[in-house]
């Protein structure tokens, strides 16, 4: 996959806020250049929010350049979009405006989310042990990269947006169809082929909501799209609404809370829970980076709209949603070689001040030591030691 978060060097003044905030230490600054290690990045948006000069960005597709590439274009809209709106009519007006951007169809997938939400609860109660929902791409990447022992506890369900895209392909077989995913968060952007080169996806292009919002706003009028939403799908997008206290289901939001919980699960310390719904964002998907309003009010908006979500739930076969996720592990050296590397890192670490100040351009002294052993920089990079 191509790098997702890119750095536009122009106005970066090497303030190191990004590398200090990254939850996976994926960022380093060498020779004044910000590098994001794609093998460590979980596409969480934290660095983008922290950057005071707003030079960390995710590039999406540009519809003016891509719409003509296919005969027929379908756009998938995220359920969390509802949280930005005050009434269901307004939601239908927004959907109509999105259509007018030049698409032939606007599709929703809350019916699929609703099905998987129910399926997750049901299946986790039947099967032994604790299960983790698999709807947040950032959480899935966190588990894969930092908690690999729990990778086999992720429910084997594909992403609802991906299932929706697959269904559209089946329905419009024989037609030259371009499928767009309108995204509320960075994590969801990474699923598409363009511009990220994610070959196996049925989604052709990723677009962020905020990117198209000004255009949608101009096109919006009284005309409404005849779109319906499913209330279970809507619920599954909101941290507060997922599950129910009478069931052994818990909801966790935010990366720090998710990490604490995953730590406990690794020690088998969570005994009475069958299902954990984790979200990287505050309040779940309605806290997505690209939604223009805020999750505080969004939560209220969604609750007041939920009764108008009368669309039917999807009925899926296992073939539709089942996915056999494989961990993306690189070619590994022998344990002996890895230990030699680790010992060298520790040896260098011993000579560093261990303040984890970040002034060297690495998130902490251990990352610097690793950078030195990997030949990226030399020990002169340490600003404290030099003095």
């Amino acid at each position: 996959m191509k790098p997702v978060v890119s750095w536009l060097e122009k106005k970066c003044y090497n303030c190191i806020k990004c590398l200090k905030s990254c939850p996976t230490d994926a960022i380093s600054i060498v020779n004044h250049e910000v590098n994001i290690d794609e093998s460590q990045c979980i596409h969480c948006d934290v660095c983008m929010k922290e950057c005071p000069s707003r030079v960390l960005k995710v590039q999406g597709a540009h519809i003016s350049e891509t719409l003509h590439e296919h005969e027929y274009n379908v756009v998938l809209i995220p359920t969390s979009l509802l949280s930005d709106l005050k009434s269901f009519e307004e939601f239908q007006e927004i959907c109509q405006a999105i259509l007018k951007l030049g698409f032939d169809e606007v599709e929703q997938y809350s019916d699929i989310e609703g099905f998987l939400y129910k399926k997750a609860i049901e299946e986790s109660q039947q099967k032994e042990g604790i299960w983790l929902t698999s709807f947040c791409p950032t959480i899935n990447e966190l588990i894969e990269k930092k908690y690999p022992t729990l990778f086999d506890r992720l429910l084997p369900y594909d992403y609802p947006v991906e299932i929706a895209a697959k269904k559209i392909r089946e329905r419009l077989k024989g037609k030259d169809v371009g499928i767009y995913s309108l995204c509320e968060c960075v994590g969801k952007m990474t699923l598409a082929k363009e511009p990220f080169g994610n070959k196996t996806s049925h989604i052709d292009y990723a677009l962020s909501i905020s990117h198209v919002f000004p255009k949608i706003n101009k096109l919006k009028n009284q005309e409404k799209a005849s779109i319906q939403m499913n209330k279970y799908g809507v619920k599954s997008n909101v941290e507060d609404l997922f599950g129910n206290r009478s069931l052994s289901v818990i909801r966790v939001e935010g990366l720090n809370q998710s990490k604490s919980l995953l730590d406990l699960i690794e020690f088998d310390r969570i005994q009475h829970v069958d299902l954990v719904a984790m979200y990287a964002c505050y309040q779940g998907c309605i806290g997505g980076y690209y939604l223009w309003s805020n999750p505080f009010e969004g939560c209220y908006n969604i609750e007041s709209l939920i009764d108008e979500c009368v669309g039917e739930i999807a009925c899926l076969d296992e073939d539709d949603y089942f996915i056999n996720r494989q961990m993306n592990r690189q070619e590994m050296k022998s344990m002996k070689e890895r230990m030699v590397w680790f010992d060298k890192v520790n040896e260098i670490l011993e000579t560093l001040p261990q303040y984890d100040c970040g002034a060297c351009g690495f998130a902490n002294c251990r990352s610097l030591a690793q950078g030195i052993v990997n030949g990226k920089v030399d020990i002169q990079s340490c600003r404290v030691k030099k003095r």
Binding site: T149, F267, M335, K336, D343
Partner: protein, 135 residues
């Protein structure tokens, strides 16, 4: 590679720190996740036993060139009187205090035995010595 950790009796606040460090080290070394899962669970259970049942002791973590992990738990008493009984799932002498912290389900030793590739326990009133290997 070898690392030794000291574990204090009744130190609930730091209980699990050694296991956390061992887990982190093994993650950095990219050990097989399936093996790491067993190590994490067994190590944590044994560390907690040192805190809640023993007078305190040490944990020794060793890793050899073939990736085999050896964990040794050595405490200074009071020992386990009847090991067979202690190994029975559900058997526990955990104090009220320990139970309040969520420990003392009586599954620890049984769990460790199931997780480890080899499991050996010796005990007298001068101390309990537990060795486990994982591969």
């Amino acid at each position: 590679m070898k690392k030794v950790y000291t574990v204090l009796k009744d130190n609930y606040e730091d209980a699990g720190q050694a296991s956390r460090d061992i887990k982190m080290t093994l993650k950095m070394l990219e050990i097989n996740p399936k093996v790491l899962k067993r190590i994490s669970i067994a190590c944590y259970e044994a560390e907690i036993n040192l805190v809640i049942h023993s007078n305190g002791g040490t944990i020794t973590f060793e890793l050899d060139d073939d990736g085999i992990v050896k964990l040794s738990f050595d405490d200074t008493g009071p020992g386990i009187e009847n090991i067979e009984l202690a190994m029975t799932p559900g058997y526990s002498t955990a104090s009220k205090e320990a139970r309040e912290f969520g420990f003392g389900a009586g599954m620890g030793l049984d769990n460790m035995k199931n997780c480890a590739s080899t499991f050996d326990i010796q005990s007298s009133k001068d101390g309990t010595h537990l060795r486990m290997t994982f591969q």
